[in-house]
């Protein structure tokens, strides 16, 4: 070991106090996070069901059977397809909304900056279940605000949450409303780090707003965009409360998400082995998605 490695920590304390300080958090994380992760992985290779819940002797290892069963399970494919539809649509739209809001709020010409920033951010902190309930009434086919507003444009009432075609777009719209303020704050921080001289120099050379955005803002924001992309992906793949409250996964399973399917199989029907396999598919998707984004950015 070289000594330069220790430049940053002074190595103050004794071994005894190290254990006192570190072990509570580390043990809690080990026992209630890492052990469950490993157990879930093992569980996904068993037929853990309601019988096993009563007597663990019923548990049998069944190898990859749960995963094979998933492959042939039409409901799982529907949940997978719905979740991808949600992530691929809501993800980019939400990021575009965040970036637009961030750029508008960073402009010198903007008045009442802190008021606008606050109101854009408000949906982020509020309880998802409560706002999903509010939106459920906003989407009401007869009395809802949205259809009333659209009627001014001659659009006839849409049964937002009752029509299999419109239910997912309705959830996407609500999810964008709820989340764009979060990434907006991160983009504002990113925009503040771009030196102003770059824009000034570009102006002298006759660049217009679009050129500046395309050649200065976007490339210099790339690390921020990558971070935003990954956390949005991780968050959106875990879609659950919105459909649970607004549609219960319906109509005709058009909004059933992976997490809701996992919840149903695991905690409604107590097919916990099968449910664990679903959870690991979700994890694999999130993991792969994050790696792909990282790779894509590195190749740029």
């Amino acid at each position: 070991m070289n000594s330069s490695k220790y430049k940053y920590d002074s190595g103050l304390g004794s071994k005894k106090s190290l254990i006192i300080f570190l072990s509570p958090a580390l043990l809690a994380i080990l026992i209630f996070f890492f052990i469950p992760v490993i157990s879930a992985f093992i569980m996904s290779f068993t037929d853990f069901s309601i019988y096993a819940l009563a007597d663990w002797n019923y548990i049998q290892f069944i190898g990859l059977d749960n995963y094979f069963r998933l492959f042939d399970d039409p409901l799982f494919w529907i949940a997978l397809k719905n979740t991808f539809y949600f992530v691929i649509t809501a993800g980019p739209l939400s990021i575009i909304a965040s970036l637009t809001a961030a750029i508008l709020l960073s402009s010198k010409l903007t008045a009442f900056k802190s008021f606008f920033r606050l109101s854009f951010f408000l949906p982020v902190v509020t309880t998802l279940v409560a706002v999903a309930i509010v939106w459920r009434f906003i989407y009401h086919p007869n009395f809802g605000l949205l259809n009333y507003f659209l009627s001014y444009f001659g659009i006839s009432p849409i049964d937002w949450l009752g029509d299999p075609v419109w239910a997912m777009p309705a959830i996407i719209l609500m999810a964008i409303w709820k989340s764009f303020g979060y990434n907006m704050i991160i983009f504002i921080a990113g925009l503040q780090n771009i030196p102003e001289q770059l824009y000034e120099a570009a102006e002298i050379e006759g660049a217009n707003s679009w050129h500046k955005f395309h050649h200065i803002t976007l490339p210099l924001l790339a690390p921020t965009t990558l971070f935003v992309g990954i956390i949005t992906l991780i968050g959106f793949f875990q879609l659950f409360a919105e459909p649970y409250i607004m549609t219960q996964g319906g109509p005709l399973n058009s909004t059933l998400s992976i997490v809701q399917y996992m919840y149903q199989e695991g905690f409604r029907w107590w097919n916990m082995g099968y449910s664990a396999a679903i959870a690991f598919v979700l994890f694999t998707i999130i993991f792969t998605g994050s790696i792909i984004q990282l790779k894509m950015k590195k190749n740029d």
Partner: protein, 274 residues
């Protein structure tokens, strides 16, 4: 910064439109919560109550026992916040100021495991807590929230700028590790502790899936679970549901408005990777 050619009017107009979109659901929620039964189910919709009433709120407090759910939410959010703040700050202190084998490696493992979605842990965690006999008790929420990696990361990130000399001086003066932690470390990291307290409080208050799984009696429900349950019986009563939503959101909005600076600052910090 950017001297945009498009006029300031257009820019501010756009911002006003976005504000209307973000705030309308909240304004309608508050307004409908003060309406009489059936008054929020009309066409064209009412934007303001014709007759201001608090019957929806009294119904929630007297008939539907929402006080219990509010109390559950408060007790759980506050206890998770206090305990995790203590454990996380102690661990962050150890990671910063103690020297031990494999420290960097351990921290990297912790950090990279943040990508694992919490749903993966839920099935075994449920079984563990069931064996411990704590399902449908406060402990079912508190135990998984004892410590978290993000909290340790955030405190460590903030405390890295504290000069070592400060701690060394105290050490020479004969202070124990525990004294250094309470008298020097904690006071210096106070700002980030406030931010982390906000995150944890709001996160626990807003959490839904885990309490939905582990709290099975209505008297144990937190507000989001109680609201979800209420929705299945009162899906035709927007006025009542809006009053419940107001009560669920109000404490969060008050806390957020009071401490938005710390919240936003922490959010920006959490997004800055080393």
């Amino acid at each position: 910064m950017i001297s945009l050619k498009p006029k300031p009017i257009l820019l501010n107009l756009l911002l006003i439109i976005i504000t209307v979109i973000t705030l309308t659901p909240f304004l309608w929620m508050v307004s409908a919560s003060f309406m009489l039964d059936g008054h929020a189910s009309t066409y064209p919709p009412r934007f303001l109550p014709d007759e201001f009433t608090i019957t929806q709120y009294t119904k929630l407090f007297t008939k539907l026992n929402i006080t219990t759910n509010m109390l559950n939410s408060f007790i759980l959010s506050i206890s998770v916040t206090l305990i995790s703040l203590l454990f996380n700050s102690m661990a962050a202190y150890a990671f910063l100021k103690f020297r031990f084998k494999g420290k960097e490696k351990l921290f990297t493992i912790l950090l990279s495991s943040m990508i694992i979605p919490s749903q993966v842990t839920m099935l075994p965690l449920f079984l563990m807590l069931k064996e411990m006999g704590v399902i449908n008790t406060y402990f079912a929420i508190i135990i998984p929230g004892l410590a978290n990696i993000f909290g340790i990361f955030l405190i460590r990130q903030y405390a890295q700028s504290i000069p070592d000399s400060l701690f060394e001086a105290a050490k020479i003066d004969g202070a124990t590790d525990f004294q250094i932690y309470t008298k020097i470390f904690v006071p210096i990291i106070k700002p980030i502790l406030v931010t982390l307290a906000l995150f944890t409080f709001m996160g626990t208050w807003n959490d839904f899936l885990w309490p939905l799984i582990t709290l099975t009696d209505e008297s144990m429900y937190t507000l989001p679970v109680a609201m979800s349950n209420l929705m299945s019986e009162h899906s035709k009563d927007p006025e009542l549901m809006m009053a419940g939503s107001v009560l669920t959101i109000l404490p969060i909005i008050i806390v957020f408005l009071a401490m938005q600076k710390q919240y936003i600052k922490g959010l920006m910090m959490g997004s800055v990777k080393e």
